[in-house]
């Protein structure tokens, strides 16, 4: 991992990468807004955006563009960026290439909360609330289990996360089996779905994403120092334990916000940072912002695939594409 890429001049990687990935992102937005079960020409998309933005009456396909596709695309951007930044930060914080935002039980906690709401038949508006609360509960549980005095040793943290995740998943499965007639709804949630994302959902997720990712981006330099080893980082004046705690809370916030609305979307947070690291090097000041761009673009593309093929759900697409890529990555790394 610390190969030639790491030595590449960081001064050039960021602007070049930003430019390339921003172009990719733009392409994702244009295609994501234009294509779907109804194909809408680019000019018509622009017209719809203009009419919507200037408060004119929406006609014909305008409703689809402005009220269905665009919020769905924007939600994809937010979720993709959040999961990827959190993934990159987690991998740095725990110095573990397998870390991802779901590590601390966030996803299973979220899924359990949503399942409770769905099986109990509570209104849709309550689902994210219960998901968020139980996600934060799960993180608190993991942190309590992993705590050793004032420290959170990485191995204990990951083990605790796995255990909490498994227990919560078992509880979720038990609930699904009890509420058979709603099983499909729960299943759809646990597979990740951007359908029915509206502007209100986007506005609700936005502060979580902005706050969480913003904090992580500010920690980038400290994360770089941490890669030198805990002792060195400490001697260089990095408050390692506090850094870890802030990163965990910030990442949990962003992840729970995303998961609460669109369900569990696998592999994005794990894989995107690795792709960026391969292309632009491991420095967190490039890694985190570029992961945000790539993650956002990838999730919009994945959702486009989900909408237009029988794969039908974005989480299925990311897992199907992400799984093999991850294995390839593993093999590549062991060979190095």
């Amino acid at each position: 991992m610390e190969g030639a890429a790491a030595r590449r001049a960081p001064g050039l990687a960021l602007p070049l990468g930003t430019l390339g990935l921003a172009a990719l992102l733009l392409l994702a937005v244009v295609l994501g807004t234009g294509l779907g079960s109804v194909t809408i020409a680019p000019l018509e998309v622009l017209g719809a955006l203009w009419r919507g933005a200037t408060g004119q009456a929406l006609a014909g396909n305008d409703v689809i563009v402005w009220q269905i596709r665009l919020p769905r695309v924007v939600m994809g951007l937010l979720v993709g960026a959040s999961l990827s930044v959190c993934g990159g930060a987690f991998q740095g914080v725990f110095r573990n290439p397998l870390a991802d935002p779901y590590l601390l039980g966030v996803a299973s906690g979220s899924a359990l909360g949503a399942t409770v709401a769905i099986v109990a038949g509570w209104p849709r508006a309550l689902i994210p609330v219960t998901a968020l609360l139980s996600a934060l509960g799960a993180v608190a549980c993991t942190l309590t289990l992993a705590r050793e005095g004032r420290r959170f040793p990485p191995t204990r943290l990951i083990l605790a996360g796995v255990v909490v995740g498994s227990v919560l998943s078992a509880a979720t499965t038990a609930l699904i089996l009890r509420g058979e007639d709603r099983a499909r709804q729960v299943l759809a949630y646990t597979l990740g779905d951007l359908g029915f994302s509206g502007w209100r959902d986007v506005l609700t997720v936005l502060p979580y994403a902005a706050l969480g990712c913003g904090a992580l981006l500010l920690l980038a330099r400290a994360l770089d120092t941490l890669q030198l080893g805990e002792l060195t980082a400490r001697s260089l004046g990095v408050p390692v334990e506090r850094l870890r705690l802030i990163a965990v809370v910030a990442a949990s916030l962003a992840t729970a916000g995303a998961v609460a609305y669109v369900g569990v979307i696998g592999f994005v947070g794990l894989i995107v940072p690795h792709m960026v690291r391969l292309a632009f090097g491991p420095g967190h000041r490039t890694l985190l912002p570029l992961s945000a761009l790539l993650g956002a673009a990838l999730l919009v593309f994945a959702d486009l695939l989900a909408r237009t093929t029988p794969l039908s759900q974005v989480g299925i697409v990311t897992t199907l594409l992400g799984g093999p890529f991850f294995l390839w990555l593993l093999r590549r790394q062991t060979r190095d």
Binding site: V38, L58, V63, I64, I68, R69, R124, L177, E180, G198
Partner: protein, 295 residues
């Protein structure tokens, strides 16, 4: 041996012609694609599918039921029978303990193998399409030696259905309709048994055949199709979905939830098919049924 078989076959033909009675052993292929032989007329039956339970009772074999799955709740008398679990949590031990001579299963749920190994005859009867409702009713009639009753039931069902269809066929305006069976959202294709009922109820399903029988639908497809009637969602939920306020059904207030009893009947391809159709037709064309609202 050959002679006996020929004789039996001959007897079967003669008897069925005369009395309409089944002769055993009875061999046929069930819905799991297995060749099953029923040695004698079954007297102690366990049914693990609500629609099968209802059909058995409707053809006069209710007294032979000694156990049902936990979702079988109609007719009233089956609710007192021992429960043997559901599709995903079947209680095989309870089934065996009841000493049935026949267990009627769904083709899902993997009950056939363990029960067969326990020496119990298992038959999968699993109507899924509209036509299968009738063919499986007749099959159940043969299985329990109630062929005449099964034929009568099928005739009655078809005429009850025709009576509703006569009304809806003449409806002046047939609304385009979206029927949501699950808020993920899933809908029904025109070829599914519920889809056939929707069409017979006088609606034009917005889901094309090509999307399959129970497709997961892209929300923007529904907005584009702009249905005049939405079934299976409440107006508040539908109105809160992005872009749905522009759908014709929401503008005219034709968003209708399915009453829970009707919903149950709609999900059961059994003897209450005509009743389900009538309920659905009332929701699609309330104007045609004004006269009997008071009843």
């Amino acid at each position: 041996m050959k002679h006996i078989l020929t004789l039996t076959a001959l007897a079967a033909v003669t008897l069925s012609g005369v009395a309409g009675a089944t002769t055993y052993p009875l061999t046929f292929t069930d819905d799991l694609g297995r060749k099953v032989t029923l040695k004698a007329e079954p007297k102690r039956i366990v049914s693990v599918l609500p629609s099968t339970t209802e059909t058995l009772c409707a053809i006069g074999a209710c007294d032979r039921l000694i156990g049902v799955d936990e979702y079988s709740d109609y007719p009233q008398q089956v609710t007192k029978l021992p429960k043997v679990g559901g599709l995903y949590n079947p209680n095989i031990e309870a089934m065996v303990a009841l000493k049935p001579d026949l267990v009627l299963v769904s083709k899902y749920g993997k009950l056939a193998e363990p029960l067969s190994q326990a020496g119990i005859t298992v038959i999968a009867v699993n109507p899924e399409t509209y036509d299968e409702v009738f063919s499986r009713t007749l099959l159940l009639g043969r299985i329990v030696n109630r062929e005449a009753q099964a034929k009568a039931l099928v005739t009655k069902l078809k005429s009850d259905i025709a009576r509703v269809e006569i009304l809806t066929k003449n409806a002046v305006r047939k609304p385009t309709a979206y029927f949501e069976i699950d808020p993920t959202p899933y809908s029904i294709g025109p070829n599914s048994f519920m889809g056939v009922l929707l069409t017979k109820a006088g609606a034009r399903n917005i889901i094309p055949v090509s999307m399959g029988d129970f497709p997961k639908v892209d929300p923007e497809f529904i907005v584009k199709a702009n249905p005049q009637l939405i079934l299976g969602v409440d107006a508040t939920t539908a109105g809160a979905r992005p872009g749905w306020a522009s759908i014709s059904a929401l503008k005219t207030g034709r968003v209708v939830t399915i009453p829970s009893e009707l919903n149950t009947i709609l999900g059961r391809p059994g003897p209450r098919l005509a009743q389900a159709l009538l309920g659905l037709a009332r929701l699609v064309h309330p104007e045609l049924f004004k006269a009997d609202v008071k009843k």
